[in-house]
Amino acid sequence: MIETNQLTKRFGLFLAVDGITLTIEPGTIFALLGPNGAGKTTTVRMLTSILAPSAGWARVAGFDVVRHPTEVRARVGVLTEQHGLYQRMKAIEYLDFFAQLYHLPDDLRRRRPRELMEHFGLGDALDKRLGEYSKGMQQKLALARALLHDPAVLLLDEPTSAMDPQSARLVREAICDLQRAERTIAITTHNLTEAQMLADRIAVIRRGRIIAHGPFDTLAHRFVGPPLMELRAAQPLNSVVAELSDLVTVVDQGERWLRYHTPAPAADNPTLLRRLMGLGVEVVTLSEISRTLEDVYLQIVQEDEGHERDVEPEPAR
């Protein structure tokens, strides 16, 4: 579990993280999104006890990040932004080194690196030097390093970056397996499709503050609006749109199609279909236009920028 309360970090006069409060339960995947320089990496570093907070507190796996940094780091697996692999080491030596640092028992220390390497398709590259690894291979090895000691908490920065689609799927499945095993997982990523696929909850951070957080559906409803449906008919629809205005809000239309918002698709759509059928309209397709996390994220950031503009003082004349 991860808990923070008013977690703040200042570098001199610069406020990098401003009062972040969040709780991430075990068995949850939490996505932390934000523009570059928003404070994501600084937040992760505080949760890993690499940086000390300037104010507030954080508890990771039951330990305070300031008072018990060693205990925190022993229970956290981190996939850092930069791999930072030792180029002259062999992969098996590299993982063995970290296994020693995490005090794995001898049998586990022998077994676990090989298991992880096999799992991520690197079984044949155990004895290769890391300088010979491709970017994707390095990313997988770094992930294996983060999982070596079977940590209770995982902090993953761009977990599928530089990976081919097959490997990326493998990693996503591994993350889901860890979720099912009740691990607490936080990912920071610019891959919004992946975040939407994986995350149970999302937080958007900007200028050190969390400006929105919650499950995707909640955020989508709040920032992008109710679900958008598209209906296609066999006949022109111009004459029937007015008949539907009491039921749904039509936002766009063509000759044989229309799009509308409905806050309750389960209730409104069947009624709509019955009405159209009564009007002699033959419906070809009725489908929801997916709202993407990208749409939601951009709307959130745009609104926050608008808020800032509203409160900025008038320039002196």
């Binding site: 570098f11 890993t48 022993a74 930072g84 692999l85 180029q87 002259r88 080491m89 995490y102």
Partner: protein, 474 residues
């Protein structure tokens, strides 16, 4: 703790030995230089023998092993210099910082790893050179104590250079900066090697080398302690630019000089800023006082070993009185003499403070201990010659009452200024701690030491000579 540190050490050492770009030059230098030195030695021996100077050979031959042992260390310093900052540049530091290693374990692990290649290279170089001497044409058999001395000195020198380099590596932001700063280690150590060589050619003075070795060992301990204390994960990861922020330096200095409270009067400044600064120097002042007493006692004891024939010296009291009265006349209505006395004292204290910056405060103490040692020496000579010590006290006490506290406080401030970098207060960076200590030193210097020295100067020129005159005539 040690076992965790050794995990890091093993990895680093293995990694160093795999890097042929580092090991190649080190090995080459380690093997080739001693052989060259052997050839040079052969030429020297032939020259000395041809000119009938063979008795000088046992004194001169030990010189080259010192130099042969020094060169591989200075080349191997690159390993120590890039141990932290190089890893930061290669972006492999953060995963290491995210492990359960404590700061001390990480620092010690890397320090041990940085020590091994230079030491091995050094010993190998010395062994090749000595082997060439022992089994070669010279057939020279060095005394075992000399061999041990050379090995001990080489070891502690290497350790000083490596531990100093590791401190630099953990505090800079680029390998380039670290390599530039290495000059502050290599140049003083080169001079020390020359000094050691000069001492070594005098067989009866070689015991001094043990004292030097002990001093170097203390320096190693200081560097390791200081390095582990100021090692900071946050600064290591976060700091990306080495630049002097003069505005910040000025602001920090001014804030510390002014003190915590905005005051409008000199009295308020003394109360809220100067006196707290004086109290901060309590512990250094106690250390300084102990050192001054030790110097005095040392001087007293040295008088036994080197007695002066004072009882054989004819003292012309009338001439002495004449000189005193001339001095009094000179001083009367001549404030410049007071200024000269004040300037001399302040100059010495300023030099002591400057020396303190480069020696963790120790050279400041050495400088101010010297006059106290001399005082103890002279007083002991006077007493053991059966002479009246009263003129001595009359010549020292009046202005000493003001001068000694001033010296004590100034030296304590210098000691604190030099040593604060080894243990900056919690929450302060090394730079900030040093600037604040400098501000306190200047504040105490201006507000307390200077007035005391002024009073001492006035007493020394006007009162002390009168008191001596009175004692001599009554």
């Amino acid at each position: 703790m040690l076992s965790n540190a050794l995990i890091v050490t093993r990895r680093e050492v293995r990694d160093s030995f795999r890097d042929w770009r580092i090991m190649g030059p080190i090995l080459l230098l380690t093997l080739v230089f001693p052989l060259l030195a052997n050839t040079m030695t052969g030429l020297f021996i032939s020259f000395f023998e041809a000119n009938g100077a063979e008795p000088l050979l046992p004194a001169l031959l030990p010189l080259l092993p010192m130099i042969v042992g020094f060169f591989p260390v200075s080349i191997s310093l690159v390993i120590a210099l890039e141990t932290f900052v190089g890893e930061k540049e290669r972006l492999s530091l953060e995963p290491l910082l995210a492990t359960p290693l404590t700061n001390t374990e990480l620092y010690l692990g890397k320090s041990f790893a940085a020590m091994l290649p230079p030491l091995l290279a050094s010993y190998l170089g010395i062994a090749i050179y000595m082997g060439g001497l022992v089994f070669g044409g010279a057939q020279w058999r060095p005394p075992i104590t000399l061999v041990i001395q050379i090995l001990v000195l080489t070891t502690v020198q290497a350790l000083v250079m490596v531990t100093g380099s590791v401190v630099i590596s953990s505090q800079t932001t680029s390998t380039r900066a670290a390599n530039l700063l290495a000059s502050f280690i290599i140049i003083p150590m080169s001079m020390l090697v020359i000094l050691e060589s000069v001492i070594m050619v005098q067989p009866h003075q070689r015991y001094v080398l043990w004292i030097l070795a002990l001093g170097l060992l203390v320096t190693v301990a200081l560097f390791v302690r200081m390095g582990a204390r100021i090692f900071n994960r946050e600064e290591l990861l976060g700091r990306s630019l080495d630049q002097l922020n003069f505005r910040w330096i000025g602001r920090t200095f001014a804030a510390q000089f002014r003190g915590p409270v905005q005051h409008r009067s000199l009295v308020a400044w003394y109360r809220t800023s100067v006196m707290p600064a004086v109290r901060t120097h309590g512990a250094p002042a106690a250390v300084t006082a102990l050192c001054l007493v030790a110097a005095f006692v040392g001087g007293w004891l040295a008088a036994d070993r080197w007695p002066l024939p004072l009882d054989e010296v004819a003292v012309d009291d009338a001439e002495m009185l004449d000189n005193l009265q001339s001095w009094l006349e000179l001083g009367r209505g001549n404030p410049a003499l007071i200024g000269a006395a004040v300037a001399q004292n302040m100059r010495v204290l300023a030099v002591a403070t400057a020396l303190a910056v480069f020696s963790f405060g120790t050279l400041a103490l050495v400088l101010v201990m010297a006059p106290f040692g001399i005082l103890g020496f002279i007083l002991a000579q006077v007493v053991s010659a059966g002479l009246d010590p009263l003129p001595f006290f009359a010549a020292v006490v009046p202005h000493g009452l003001a001068e000694v506290p001033a010296i004590l406080l100034a030296s304590a401030a210098a000691l604190r200024l030099g040593s604060v970098i080894t243990r900056p207060p919690e929450g302060h960076s090394v730079g900030e701690a040093w600037i604040r200590a400098l501000a306190d030193t200047v504040k105490v210097g201006i507000a307390v030491v200077l007035p005391l020295i002024l009073v001492a100067g006035m007493l020394e020129v006007t009162i002390t000579p009168r008191l001596v005159e009175f004692v001599l005539t009554h």
